[in-house]
Subunit: 395 residues, 4 copies
């Protein structure tokens, strides 16, 4: 049995049974059970699949990890259990590529081992998330320290994290907006850090890994050696992070689509509208199934193609492909979930299936990591540049 089959079986047999607990009681209730499973995943050699073996991982290239991500995406517990869930995966990739030996020893090793969690503090309530170079958080240099002041939200999994990677302006006067900010590691035990609240999102405040924090940094002091990469490289590093990150998300969404598709088909076959009249006999439902099948298959090919391009020429050169999949797949996801819910009728809006969970949580798929509109702007700008037109000119 190859590793993908092993993962699929593990997800189905070990994680599916825990999902009702997650849906009814929340992540805190299910976390202890996941600890044992994480050890099992390590024992199976499937742990941290995105990292190289010397960090305890499988060393998969992006195209292969993409397929793992789809497999794990079928359960909301998949990525966490295999230690490749956002935001930790992004921080691991960042520290692996750009961390100093000391940073790797202190932060990457325990992250890779699953001993701590981390978060990424970038978006600010006062500024549009779609404009990544517009922020108010500052890191003022004082001797060997940065003094960080700022207000962030959508700091996913801040609740219980050991540290945050914080995007902060280190050179406000730089004429190049893209060179003003840096990424800095801030241990959350640092005085001045506050988790203001876990933001209630779509009716759920969440906890631990499954939460999204509003946080404050009030005069947080950290050594300059906590900066990742060069000063002013914050935006560039963020961009680098987002390329693979969007592949991860897209393939996770395809995993969700496949699960929702499976739930839709099963329920259509099992549930009757009347004695001997299963929902699957409805032609409109059959056509939703056909449309969903086509949508998902097309989406997967598009993502794998982009992943192969990143593996070959790098994320920067695949920027347009990445934007393309970001909005295309997020919209396929919403459509497939919508159809699956409709097939389930009243049950579809209860928390007795996963569909409502994803309907709530993944409405944000069209927003986070760049809203649909931002990515369409990117694609159009690229295309029209080929025709000699600059979409950023004022018209």
């Amino acid at each position: 049995m190859n590793y993908l089959d092993t993962i699929n079986t593990f997800v189905r047999e070990q994680l599916y049974p825990l999902e009702p607990l997650l849906l009814q009681e929340g992540f805190d209730a299910v976390e202890p059970r996941l600890e044992a499973l994480r050890q099992e995943v390590k024992a199976l050699g499937l742990w941290t699949p995105h990292l190289p073996p010397d960090f305890g991982g499988m060393g998969l290239p992006l195209r292969d990890f993409a397929q793992v991500s789809e497999a794990l995406g079928r359960s909301p517990l998949g990525h966490y259990t295999f230690n490749c869930a956002a935001p930790d995966i992004g921080n691991m990739e960042l520290l692996h590529a750009h961390g100093t030996a000391e940073q790797q020893a202190r932060w990457l090793r325990p992250l890779a081992a699953g001993e701590i969690r981390s978060c990424f503090a970038m978006t600010e309530p006062e500024h549009a998330g779609s404009n990544p170079v517009w922020m108010s958080t500052t890191a003022r240099r004082e001797g060997d320290e940065y003094v960080i002041d700022g207000h962030k939200w959508f700091t996913t999994a801040a609740d219980g994290a050991a540290f945050a990677v914080v995007m902060a302006v280190t050179d406000a006067e730089n004429p190049k907006a893209h060179r003003r900010a840096s990424q800095i590691i801030v241990p959350l035990a640092t005085p001045g850090f506050t988790l203001v609240r876990n933001i209630s999102l779509m009716g759920e405040r969440g906890s631990g890994w499954l939460s999204h924090g509003e946080v404050r940094f009030d005069g947080c002091r950290v050594p300059v050696s906590n900066r990742i990469g060069a000063e002013g490289a914050g935006f560039a590093l963020a961009q680098e992070r987002l390329g693979p990150g969007r592949i991860h998300h897209c393939m996770r969404w395809i995993g969700i689509c496949e699960r929702a598709f499976d739930l839709m088909c099963r329920y259509a076959v099992d549930r009757e509208l009347g004695p001997g009249r299963p929902i699957a006999g409805q032609q409109v439902v059959q056509h939703w199934i056909a449309d969903s099948r086509a949508d998902i298959d097309a989406a997967r090919l598009l993502v794998l193609d982009a992943a192969a391009k990143i593996d070959t020429v790098g994320a920067a050169a695949a920027r347009v492909e990445i934007s393309t999949i970001k909005f295309f797949v997020a919209n396929v996801l919403q459509r497939v979930l919508d159809r699956a819910i409709q097939v389930h009728g009243g049950l579809g809006v209860t928390d007795d299936t996963l569909l409502a969970f994803w309907w709530r949580h993944e409405r944000a798929a069209r927003i986070y990591d760049g809203a649909d509109e931002v990515h369409k702007d990117v694609v159009a700008r690229h295309v029209l540049r080929g025709y000699g037109f600059d979409t950023r000119r004022t018209v």
Copy 2:
């Protein structure tokens, strides 16, 4: 100031400020504050607007009540505060039209006064809600009593209700499926009744009026005089209830649309993508606004037209119009909410605005009271009958 203006002002000034509490803490937290406001509504002479004056209401015909319903729909607290929220409004209309003097005295009066709450137990987990004549709950006659056994869910507001109107089979052998069931009043204090749970819906278990119960009736005994209308009239009464009920819902949805539209426009104008670049400057957002304006205006005219038809010729004769608005408006609602959320970006999925609340709660609008597909079947059947074709024949 006419009463619609008064209501609009009241909703905006008295109810809007309470919404954050509802969104962050739930209905229990806000309920005490609503009590005072309900008294104020009574004092303003706007209480129970759908009931005639001798029951303390405004005596509005459906077409006028429709506009009140839109006004109240702008806040999730509107209908409750004016004592015309589902499911009580349906029970009030039912008891007013078909209750005996004794039933009216015992149940309708306190409902109309807002002293008690009620619920309606029809849908069963074991049977598709879209097939209203297929149920397992029975009311077995024993002398002057019915003994009721059954399992229901989506019994909205069962938590804390004084009584349920229960749909139960009283004549299982009747060759006409539509004549098998009756509607029976069951006080929830009756031995044998259990509120199994408030169903967790879209991440929220809810409480009190804002909850949806799974309930059991195990040998509940009630006097035969608790039956509403004739034995076997249950389905007919349910249909009668649904005609105006769908107008109420549709106009409430239009109220939601208008509020979401207003939130969308305000945010688009106030929020900047960059210094001096408000979202409202984005042409795609401008076109969402135009599309939403057209969708909402068309939807309202269609509903008011159906309401006028019900007032004139009755709900039965307006059956097709009612089905038409049910699916048309529910889909407009989903589109408008979707656009409003997208404009809000990350904020749109938080519980810091109403949008996520409605996105979660009103995904069910395309399902409850007949799924889109059921109503499209009704409209198509009617149209094709005019061409000599019966869609129910097997093909």
Copy 3:
């Protein structure tokens, strides 16, 4: 029998039978037959329904004429036969409201009598039709004459027309762009006028009334008394024309929708996919029927509401409503035609039914008289102005 019934019957009994000839042989082939029918329409007192009785018409207000327009729209021959087809209707309304006694005697009388045809020359190939104040055609004053030079296209029905109303710049230097042009009557026999070609549109060059000309004015001289209204009033008059004009179009489209809907239902019932399996038995087709029914009904209410507003407060005050219906109904039209064609299968793309004719001719509905995008811009501008935002500011 009221006049609407009479019109409906006339269209069905007299015009439907001529449609195959139109579809197979073109307008020239059918025109002679229409002459006799036009006399019959006069005899029935249904001629030129939009003009007052002293010009031989029915004197209907816009809201009533709207319903006539729907009835006539069910056949592509309807409006022509009742002498209320574009572009003549617009010219008649224009001359009636703003023509001098002499202009009315010379041009309006014979138009109203159906003795001549006319055209309206506004759009230019070199400039976007969506920008009505940007044009190159000039009318230079020389003594008592205008000398007109210009190039126009989409001059509907120029082929065989007696005169054109030409939009030409009379004051290029006016700082107000909206005050630069005037409308001037140019008899097509004027030296310097050329019908360059009937533009081939969607595979059809057309002829006579059913054609769209590309025309040139090279030094055409006409007396100044041929100007309609004040100098510089050209744009204002065009706007005034377009208000009712869009009602006409929208109601004509609704007539098309109803005819397509009827063709769709008939064919679905009559055509079998296999022995005993009519298309109408397909649930997806049934739902297209339901969706079309809802779309058409909503569209009609929206148009009638706008027409009533124009009747009450005038076209200028109803500008936003007019823009709303323009794009809303044009899109309903395209969807309904698309579904009707799909139901007809191969037959749907042949010229054996009207569907392909309309699919070709009415793709332009989303373009002429202002593209969808122009009207959405108008609606959004109006809405956002209410929130203090000017969409025309540069962002």
Copy 4:
């Protein structure tokens, strides 16, 4: 320069310039010019790319031919000029795979050489094209001859063809509906054959290769040796034809999409809405470009994936993939054309660009070779069979 580049250059430099003639004057006008180009294509070694070298072709596997088909699809003259246009390509593939040596010598050789044209007579006006086993045309055996009687339409390119491959019932009593018909070569010079008419489709009767005939076979006698394959194999052969045939169409459509996309971008950049305000500056247009880019790229990957599967495991095993691309790509095509037309405004509906040609001709893409609905039925049936449900059971 590889052959794809050569083909792209040829299409752009040699065929694009002839398109205006096709659009304005029709195929007859352009055909003589194409003859010289066909010789040039032969000289370049790019002729009949789908056939093996011993029949004068390039011997490309389907996956490679698919890319040629996209390149050729950018012009409506592409496939014809390279001798791989429907319906000849299907007949060539059929005769190559199943023709006797004699049939190949007599019919395939001259077809492959481009000396004659052929047609395929399957669909009948009296029966739904979507039901391929339901037909009335019969081939009655009399000694060594078949006597063929029947009525067909959508017999593409019958006008001027040397022979037809006719689908006719040879064994009406066979209990297996799929075994009743055979495919038989009928030279069109055979007495009893009539080309009733070139059907006027979307306003165009067409001629020669670019026409669609309604034909009759009245007692046409052909030798039994004209039958292709076994008696009763007609349906199986038709299915075999359609697998690759749908790849051809889908890739041709993608070629159309790319051309329309290019036209859209060019026009958006070149055309101004006002001085200095090109259409490309409109954000809604930019987003149509982005959506189109994503749609086309996803569609291509899906088709190439299906083509690779056909190459590997055969058309029968790839049946579901073929159905998936058929409806998915046909709908992408319609959307892309729709957006490109809208960007072109009035020009988009004229025959001064290719867009209107394709809008008219390719509305049928969602109908021919199996309507959307037929293919969605196929996909859903396959999926639901995996869940133990047979969609063909009566429900």
